[in-house]
C-alpha cells in the first residue's frame, strides 16, 4: 500500500513551508520514530518523523521546494515492490510525528 507524506497542519500560522533536508534517499526503509524530513517555516523548523514503517519511494518536493500545508512532499509504501501510483491523489496519509523547534 502507498501513502502520501504531507506537510503537517496545525503549526501556528503556517500555510506554506520549504523543504530543508531529506534524511534518506529513495529506497530507504524508515522505522517508526525515524526522522524523514525537516521543513522550514517562517520562524521554525519542523522535524517530521515516520509514525509507521515505510519505504521512501518518490520525493515530490526536493530540498528548497515549497509546499502548502496538507499537500504531499513524498510517497512511501509498505513494500519496495509495490508499483508506483501515477499521482498522490487519493492516497492515505502516512502517519507522522512532528516536532516544532
Amino acid at each position: 500500500m502507498f501513502y502520501a507524506l504531507t506537510v503537517p497542519g496545525g503549526v501556528e500560522e503556517v500555510e506554506e513551508v520549504r523543504v530543508l533536508e531529506w534524511h534518506g534517499q529513495v529506497g530507504r526503509v524508515f522505522a517508526p520514530g525515524e526522522l524523514v524530513v525537516e521543513l522550514e517555516t517562517h520562524k521554525a523548523l519542523v522535524e517530521v518523523r515516520a509514525g509507521q514503517a515505510g519505504v521512501l519511494r518518490r520525493i515530490l518536493c526536493a530540498e528548497g521546494d515549497w509546499q502548502a500545508v496538507g499537500q504531499p512532499v513524498a510517497l512511501l509504501s509498505d513494500s519496495p515492490e509495490d508499483p508506483l501510483p501515477e499521482t498522490a491523489d487519493g492516497l492515505a496519509a502516512l502517519a507522522v510525528e512532528f516536532e516544532v523547534s
Partner: protein
Amino acid sequence: MSADAPAARVKLFFREAIARALREEMTRDERIILLGQDVGDFGGSYKEFVGLKAAFGRTRVRDMPVAEAAMVGLGVGAAAAGLRPLVSITYMDFLMLGLDPLVNYAAKARFKTGGQLTVPLVVKTTAGAKGQGVAHSQCVEAWLMSVPGLTVVAPSTAADAYGLLKSALRAPGPVLFVDHKRLFPTAGEVPADEVLVPFGQAAVRRAGEHVTIASHGYMVRVALEAADRLAGQGVSCEVIDLRSLAPLDLDTVAASAGRTGALLTLEEGQLTCGVGAEVAFRVRERYDTVKLARVGALPAPVSSNPVLEAACLPDAARVVAAVRRLLKS
C-alpha cells in the same frame, strides 16, 4: 510591480527578504550598522536579522538595551557623523519613545543646516495587531507621514520589503520603514537580481473598473481578499498598494479613482487624521466628483482579547460592505 521586472525570481519568506536586503547593502557599504534589541545572536524578533551578526560582526550588529529614545538618538548622531545606521524598534508602539530624536533632529537636520548635515538613518519597526494588546498593536504611520523631511514606507510583499529597504539604506535622509506582524508568516517571489523599489511609486495590485481601493502594508492583503469576494458579486475593484506614504504617489491613486469614480481607503490605523483622510482629500482636490469612503480601525484601543481585537480592526467583510455602500451612495 517594478517597471521592468526581471525574469528570474526566487521565493523567500518575508523575513528573508529583509535579511537579504541588509546583507547585500551591508556588503556594499561598510558604513551600514544595525542597532536594536535582539538583533544579534537572537537574529531579530521575527528572525529577520538571522546571520547578520555572524557575517558582519558585533561592531556592526549591536544589541541594545530596552531604551528606544537612546537607540534612535544614537542612530541619529551616528548618521550625522557619517555612518548609515538601521535602528530596529521592535514594535511601532515603542517608537513613541524615540520620536524626539527622529522628528526633531533627524528629519530637520538638513533644513536646519542648509543642507550641510544629512542624517541617513533608517528606523525599521513592526506595526499591527496580532494578539498582543493595547500597547503592542498600533499603526501610527499616519502621525509620521506629516513630518517634513521624513520618508515613510510600508511594504505589503516580500519583494517590496526587499526593494524598499535597499532604497532606504541608500537614501540621503531619514526613512521610517514600517512592516507588519501579520506579514512575517507570508512568503513571496523576489527578484533574483538586485532590484531597488523607488520611493513614491504606488503599485496597482489588481486592475478593476468600478471602485478603487487604496491601502498599504498588511491591509493590502485584506483589500485583495475583499476584491476577490466582490468580483463574485459583479463588482470590479482596482487595488492600489501605496507602498510609500511620504512621498505619496497621488498620481497613480487619483488617475485610478478618476477613472473608476469611487475611492475607498483602507488602513489598520485610526480614521481621524489617518492615511485615508489625506489620500481621499487630495484625490478630491483633483476630481471633485469622485465618491469617497474610508475604512479603518474603530476608535478604541486594540484589545488583547482576540474577539475584541477582531471587532476593532478592518477585515474583508467590512471592506465588502463599505464598497457596496459606497457604490450605492
